[in-house]
Each structure stands twice: as structure tokens, then as C-alpha cells.
């Protein structure tokens, strides 16, 4: 293994979990998400010579993942991910985790994508704009609508949960 390949292992492979978590929200099933991550990492490996050390490897990898996903003709076909109860509720199976992931899944696909990239993965609006090839203003407005929708969803879920408890 040469230095470049070793660098790939150190830079890209640790991102597999984040990529998989994000891919599961994009694709319709967990196995499709795994395939997407595998393809993403292979494309990254093949194109690693173009990656400049010291730049944001996470942003680079997520950009590849999104390009791969949209390149497969999946644009506009984002669907609600039929994850299992355990997946949606988190490892602890608590209702808070269930509510928040359920609310996320109810968002329109374009809002869910920017919210995942911004709120969960921590990318800036500028980075998201570059990843999705959309104007910065569009990212900002989608993000704002996504957060408002999340709040409404969670308020509603909270009320329903309170009624059940009482």
C-alpha cells in the first residue's frame, strides 16, 4: 500500500458511518444505502488523486455521494425511508428519538436533505449549496422551512404523546 492509499484509508474510511446514516435517509432501503456508500467510497478511491490534502474530506465525500445518488437518476424520487422501529427510535428505543426521526421523515425530500446536511452533518449553507448545485438562497430558505416544519411536527407529536400518557 502506498502513502496515497494509506491516506485514503485514514481520510475516507472513517466517514463510512456518517455516509451510511445519510444515505439511509436518501434511499428507499438500507441495502440500497449500503450500495450507495460502497459506490461513493469506490469513486472516492478512484479519484483520490484529485483530492487535495488539507481540504474538507467530509464535504468532498458527501458531494460524491450526492452526485452518485443524483447521477443514478434518483432526483425527485426521494421517498420516506421505511426504517424499522429500532432504527427510527435509536438504540435506546426512546420516544424522543422516535419523534424526531419520524418528524424528519415527514419532511419533503429537499428540506430533509438540507436539514440532514446542515443540522446533523454540520455543513455550512455554502458547502450545501456547492454539494447540491443550488443557490445559497435556496439552501437558506429550504433550511428555514425545514426547521419550522420540524417544530410543528414535534409540537403535534408532543401533544399526541401527552394525551396518550394522560
Amino acid at each position: 500500500m502506498n502513502n496515497r492509499e494509506q491516506e485514503f484509508d485514514e481520510v475516507a474510511m472513517p466517514q463510512a458511518r456518517n455516509l451510511l446514516r445519510f444515505a439511509r435517509r436518501l434511499t428507499s432501503d438500507p441495502s440500497a444505502a449500503e450500495d450507495l456508500v460502497q459506490e461513493t467510497l469506490m469513486r472516492a478511491w478512484r479519484g483520490f488523486d484529485q483530492f487535495r490534502g488539507g481540504t474538507n474530506a467530509r464535504a468532498w465525500l458527501f458531494r460524491i455521494l450526492l452526485n452518485t445518488f443524483y447521477g443514478q437518476g434518483r432526483k425527485g424520487r426521494l421517498t420516506v425511508v421505511p426504517l424499522g422501529e429500532t432504527d427510527r427510535a435509536g438504540a435506546n428505543g426512546n420516544h424522543v428519538a422516535f419523534e424526531i426521526t419520524d418528524a424528519l421523515q415527514r419532511l419533503p425530500a429537499d428540506q430533509r436533505t438540507v436539514l440532514m446536511l446542515g443540522a446533523v452533518e454540520g455543513f455550512t449553507c455554502r458547502e450545501i449549496s456547492e454539494m447540491l448545485h443550488i443557490p445559497m438562497g435556496t439552501v437558506m430558505s429550504r433550511m428555514s422551512r425545514a426547521r419550522q416544519a420540524m417544530r410543528l411536527q414535534l409540537d403535534l407529536a408532543s401533544k399526541v404523546y401527552s394525551q396518550k400518557e394522560s
Binding site: 463510512a16 437558506m140 433550511m143
Partner: protein, 246 residues
């Protein structure tokens, strides 16, 4: 900055991209507007809850990582084959083909009777210097060339080997007329039996008979049999140079 601006710029505030005067104006509005402050605070809390929920979500990457590593190993092998082994194999194949070409039988084998006659003729006429009617004058040699259909340039070309044409005559090898040319340098002599080849080429040959070295080749329209009592290496060099010169 009003409530509409807060809604518009909230994404930048959350991501930390709001700077300078905008940042100050944003914070000032939140301090003065309880509704916007509550909204932003709630959004912040929801982001945190979402991050925590996602962090708890199981995501076993072992299978993916294993598949990626296996695929990388396969592609690495493929790259190595393409960049390293294939050119190496191609080069080896080219060398093997060249060796095969050079060593494989081409044309018809030289009639052994011709080689035997050439060896005997060289021994008698060159080594033992039996009296023969040699032609040494260029005009006479040219006349023999004409009678045999041999180009004068071919005859002279052999002098590029470093050996000078000394004499020539007609002789018969295996019943076929050949122009017998003797080239010499420093007392070392080579008999070159030359004729315009027929329909068939003779197979490139190198052998020895006693102290004699023999070689035969076809080059262009000329067929040549070479006999010498020079050492094997010198014969090989002369033959190679002669073949190149024709």
C-alpha cells in the same frame, strides 16, 4: 432587522456563517423579540435532539467497509495488471515472438550437398589455394555478375564488412552455378557463394565442418553461402554484417 429577516437569515445564524453587522443585528433582534427568540431557541433544541437521535441510530458499516476493501483490492490488482504486468507480458511476448521468428525455420533448408560442396570448394580453392582461373579485375568480375544476374552493388556492399573483395569465379554447388567471391582482411579469407535466389528462400543456417564455419542466408533477391576457416565469432560477425549490408 425585522422578524422576516430573522426567518431569512436563521440558516446562516445556525451554521455560524452570519458575520459582522448582520450577526449583531440578528442578536439584537432576538434580544428584543421574544417570539423570534423562542423560535430560534426551539430550532436550536430540535437540531440538538436530531443530532443525538442520529448519533444513536445504529449504522453498522462493517459489511460496507469489507466490501469496499475487497473491491479496492480487486481494482488495485487490476491496475497493477494494466500498468505493470500487461506491459511486461507484452514486452515478454514481443521478445518471445522475436526469438521465435529469428530461431524458427524460415524458407527451405539449405541443401546439404550445397554446404558440402561449398566446404570442399573453399578448402581446395581458398585454403589450399589450388590453381584456379580467378578473376581479379573489376571488369572481369562485373562480367561474371552480369552473367549470373547479380548486382554489382550487392557485391560491393559486402565490403562494408571491412573485408575487401579479392577475387571471384564461377563454381557449382550441388549442381547449381554460384558466383564464388573471396573477401579478405589481414590474411583471413571468407568465401561467399552468391546467386540470385529462385522462388524459395533458404533457411538461415550456421554450422561448422571440421575447422570451417559455414553460414547461409537469403536477403532480398540474393542467396548467400559463407564458408571460412576464421573463428566462429568472426564468422558470425561477418555473416551478420553481410546480411545487413545486402
Amino acid at each position: 432587522m425585522n422578524c422576516g429577516d430573522i426567518d431569512k437569515l436563521s440558516a446562516l445564524w445556525h451554521s455560524g456563517e452570519l458575520e459582522g453587522a448582520d450577526q449583531k443585528a440578528f442578536d439584537a433582534h432576538l434580544a428584543a423579540c421574544p417570539a423570534c427568540a423562542a423560535e430560534i431557541r426551539e430550532q436550536w433544541n430540535n437540531d440538538t435532539r436530531l443530532q443525538e437521535a442520529m448519533a444513536e441510530e445504529p449504522a453498522d458499516t462493517h459489511g460496507v467497509e469489507q466490501r469496499v476493501m475487497r473491491q479496492i483490492a480487486r481494482e488495485r490488482m487490476r491496475r497493477w495488471l494494466v500498468r505493470g504486468l500487461v506491459p511486461g507480458l507484452a514486452a515478454a511476448a514481443a521478445i518471445a515472438a522475436a526469438v521465435l521468428y529469428l530461431t524458427s525455420p524460415r524458407g527451405t533448408p539449405v541443401n546439404p550437398a550445397i554446404l558440402a560442396d561449398a566446404a570442399r570448394d573453399h578448402t581446395v580453392e581458398v585454403v589450399k589455394q589450388a590453381p584456379r582461373r580467378w578473376r581479379t579485375a573489376p571488369a572481369d568480375i562485373a562480367a561474371i555478375e552480369t552473367s549470373q544476374g547479380i548486382s554489382d552493388s550487392d557485391v560491393k556492399a559486402l565490403e562494408t564488412t571491412g573485408y575487401k573483395l579479392e577475387r571471384a569465379k564461377i563454381c557449382r554447388l550441388g549442381g547449381t552455378p554460384y558466383m564464388h567471391l573471396v573477401y579478405g582482411k589481414n590474411g583471413r579469407e571468407f568465401s561467399v557463394y552468391m546467386r540470385v535466389r529462385g522462388a524459395q528462400s533458404v533457411r538461415e543456417t550456421a554450422s561448422n565442418s571440421g575447422d570451417l564455419q559455414l553460414a547461409a542466408f537469403t536477403r532480398g533477391r540474393v542467396q548467400a553461402v559463407i564458408v571460412t576457416d576464421a573463428p566462429r565469432g568472426e564468422c558470425a560477425r561477418f555473416t551478420r554484417d553481410a546480411e545487413a549490408a545486402l
